[in-house]
Symmetry: C2
Subunit: 194 residues, 2 copies
């Protein structure tokens, strides 16, 4: 109920279909990310968005439609070309070490992870990841067996992400340092050609 209060204003709101659509989508990402596809209910999502359940079916065609829409909105191709080869490994490592700091990034990854490991939604995610994530990384890596290396890179990335998301606590002090150092080393080992 306090969750709902954050997004749902009890005061009568100005009617705006696009705005409510947006609120529903935001609530969906949050709820799906936190509870998974089966665990999240449309009623909760609607409540958190301060909207009526019926609107979800109306706007998104149903639960699955809402999910795929949220998924599409969550997978925006990053500007891979801009990454710096020299600092990439360490940058990513330290970003992941502090996932919990940035609330929206945390939620974002959590949503994607749940989507990846839910059997109903995994196929949907796979093609998207392949096209908008793996392919750019492959090109960015270049060299021999770029495809396979990109895959391994993604695997390591996912691994650290899972580790971070499952343990709720953020990393601190020496443990954080070791984590970053080792994660960077792992990335480097995977990236390097030959």
């Amino acid at each position: 109920m306090s969750d709902a209060a954050t997004l749902a204003d009890e005061r009568p709101r100005r009617r705006d279909a696009q705005a409510t659509r947006g609120r529903i989508l935001a609530a969906a990402k949050d709820r799906f990310g936190r509870l998974g596809y089966e665990g999240a209910s449309l009623r909760e999502i609607a409540a958190e968005a301060g909207a009526d359940v019926a609107l979800i079916s109306r706007y998104f065609g149903g639960k699955e439609g809402l999910f795929t829409e949220a998924l599409k909105a969550s997978i925006q191709p990053d500007r891979v070309q801009a990454w710096d080869r020299a600092t990439f490994a360490r940058d990513v490592a330290s970003m992941m070490a502090d996932v919990h700091r940035e609330e929206d990034r945390h939620q974002h990854f959590q949503f994607l992870l749940r989507a990846a490991t839910s059997p109903t939604t995994a196929p949907l995610l796979n093609v998207a990841v392949q096209e908008r994530f793996l392919a750019p990384i492959r090109d960015w890596l270049g060299g021999e067996d770029a495809q396979a290396r990109a895959r391994v890179l993604a695997a390591v990335f996912i691994g650290f992400l899972v580790e971070r998301l499952i343990r709720g606590e953020p990393l601190r002090g020496r443990e954080r340092d070791v984590f970053i150092e080792r994660a960077a080393a792992a990335f480097q080992a995977v990236m390097s050609e030959g």
Copy 2:
């Protein structure tokens, strides 16, 4: 229904509480692993085991009881001490490359992965993994910051597992070779001291 037929023999069976308990447990691991905690229903599990739904509540006390029982049975501490330092990285890498070959191992890992990423069950798994998995690996690794290094090792391990389980297809030919080589390199980078 064809799933049920594999385990459930339509012929009248000899009454044996322990045997049906076992069949239910096996079906639970399969179903929970495939569909997650929320996605799997007790009726499906019972059908696959060729038993009645009511027996689950009777024998395991309910859905959560069944799950934790299946979890306990799935996390048996491996004989970590016996691992060979020299070949460890490569052994694990090639084992994971061929996860799909061994059906029961595949199912086993899938179950654990779903348990890890389902919000209702993650806490249950975390303590078990910490005690029976991370602690032994920490001792096996030894040296400075063994705890943190063990954690990173586990993270990489999970990453490859997720990658393998999400993409259904087994690895073949050159792609498999590259995968093993890079995975081994990643493990090595994480394990090595200093």
